[in-house]
Symmetry: C2
Subunit: 337 residues, 2 copies
């Protein structure tokens, strides 16, 4: 089954010979714009060419095309971890939109480590991507600033940084929604599991929550954490002993699930004794033993729009950052008994 056994695919030349015309004519008819095609050959010649192409199962060689046009129709996508369902879903949106534009994508994990971000980006660049989508931007913005300076087309998704074009959820507003909900339920001693300090998602969600509480003259305890369940568990344990909050907002569903575990371990009832809310409304949130209140963010849509925004950049347009609306989904984890 070695690769030598497969017979060579049809090329423009094959078709040109079959149809008795020049390759340039075939190119214009098959791969050119409709106007090009119309100008390039008579109806009959064009039809004959198209018929041969179909019969020979012709598919343009993308490498030849890219070499000639200096455009690869490839985009590189960097995410912290693809096994995080939030990023995977955003990526699905990116991939869908890319396919519709005739682009293919390379995804890579950076694990939120600057050295890997750099290495993966260079790898993508050496593969000659036309542009990049970063789902792993750090708020300090050092790395993306550098990419911008090199005039490499890119957009950010999920997290914003340094004023570069981005598509995000309105995380600040999402944080406020949770705070408003907690206030309505009468919680006055609350805490936030704020995630990693370098991610604008965690920063903004926390800020929105804290600001809303400040408006009521109330302070909020905050603690940073990893974005996963173990991180949330650990952070919640600490908060439960040091702060004894009646409600906890974790800036991410996984951290929230970890927090639920910590609440249970402390012999408290999630929802009844300690309210817990998460963010993103991951598919699991609704199915947990104690269903989780969470802020729904349009993950797939965010990915789709980020890719569209990149297309704007590639077409030389002026990209406008977008902030999509979050929606609070209330469930048992924040219901008083």
């Amino acid at each position: 089954m070695g690769r030598e056994d497969r017979k060579r695919p049809a090329t423009l030349r094959t078709i040109a010979q079959s149809a008795g015309v020049d390759v340039s004519t075939v190119s214009r008819v098959l791969n050119g714009s409709p106007e090009d095609a119309a100008r390039a050959a008579s109806r009959e010649t064009a039809d004959a060419i198209r018929e041969w192409a179909a019969r020979l199962d012709y598919r343009p060689n993308p490498h030849a095309k890219s070499l000639r046009t200096q455009r690869s129709n490839l985009v590189g996508v960097l995410v912290p971890r693809l096994s995080d369902v939030v990023l995977a879903t955003i990526y699905e949106g990116i991939e869908d939109a890319a396919a519709r534009h005739g682009f293919a994508t390379f995804v890579m994990n950076s694990h939120d480590r600057p050295d890997e971000q750099r290495a993966r980006t260079e790898l993508a660049l050496s593969r000659r991507v036309d542009g990049l989508v970063f789902g792993d931007a750090h708020h300090d913005g050092g790395f993306v600033d550098e990419i911008a300076q090199r005039r490499i087309p890119f957009v950010l998704v999920s997290r914003h940084a340094g004023g570069h074009p981005s598509v995000t959820c309105d995380d600040y507003r999402g944080g406020r929604l949770v705070a408003a909900h907690f206030l309505e339920r009468g919680h006055r001693r609350t805490a936030v599991i704020a995630g990693e300090p370098f991610a604008s998602t965690g920063i903004d969600r926390t800020a929105g929550f804290v600001d809303r509480y400040r408006e009521e003259g109330l302070d909020v305890a905050t603690v940073h954490s990893r974005f996963d369940t173990a991180g949330g568990h650990q952070a919640a344990e600490q908060l439960l002993t040091e702060v004894e909050p009646t409600a906890i907002f974790a800036v991410n569903d996984f951290a929230a699930i970890g927090a639920l575990g910590a609440v249970r371990d402390a012999r408290l009832r999630p929802g009844a004794d300690v309210a817990v809310a998460g963010f993103n409304d991951t598919p699991l949130a609704a199915e947990l033993p104690v269903p989780l209140t969470s802020v729904r963010s349009p993950m797939h849509e965010m990915g789709r729009r980020a890719l569209e925004l990149l297309m704007t950049v590639l077409d030389g347009g002026t990209p406008e950052s977008q902030r999509l609306e979050p929606e609070l989904i209330v469930r048992a984890s924040t219901a008083r008994p």
Copy 2:
């Protein structure tokens, strides 16, 4: 920030001119095998060439190379859904291994739909991938048989089909492990949430479980389901009313989580009243309010090995299918009180 602004990258010709040698010499030194390089130029010439390459930040143009060599160093990967953490983790293994071999990967979702499998495969082929990894093979094997007939290099991962080269978990054995555990705990009326009927994973896990129980002269109720939480919830609801099992094996953690929800909704205590076990030992399993007993499968390793197996195929070797060992992780969801 249009693409026109970036200055042209260095090429072999740029370097050849700078170093005062022919492009063919530069090619042999920079991109050839070590022996080629040694034979192509004197130490000094070679060093000079390498120095110029570094100074000009030379990166071989992959499109030119692919066009010339008829090899793309690209592989296509098809999965049912990348937002399923199991497939995402397998894909991470594939991607890691691919990068080490100098290959890049395209991933695409097929949603387990034959028309999408076909369309995505053709898309990958039109992008001139050297080979494919299918994580979404259907057990009937119709589609992959066809691909094999076309002599397209490919391997299967996670699911096997039609005797084609594959890397899977020993799912049958995994099913037996769960059965043995349930038997040891004294469960005699049990049920399996078997997943989709077209996936070898669910088929084999179910068969292993059922066979072990048959050896004790006991029958097992089985019901098919989707692989997600909602599917598991629904299947468990049905089983709880119709079969009243004391233990349920769901062939996948998400279905198991859905089953836990159904158990709770029926006012039964997971673990105490009804044991529930899952499969894959997803990161969440350990962190659930009632930690989930699950069969750990080496997902990342499976992906890695699948890619290695594809490399064997591409090198004209004889690929041998592999079945990796599962491991039972016992937690509270199957502990008697």
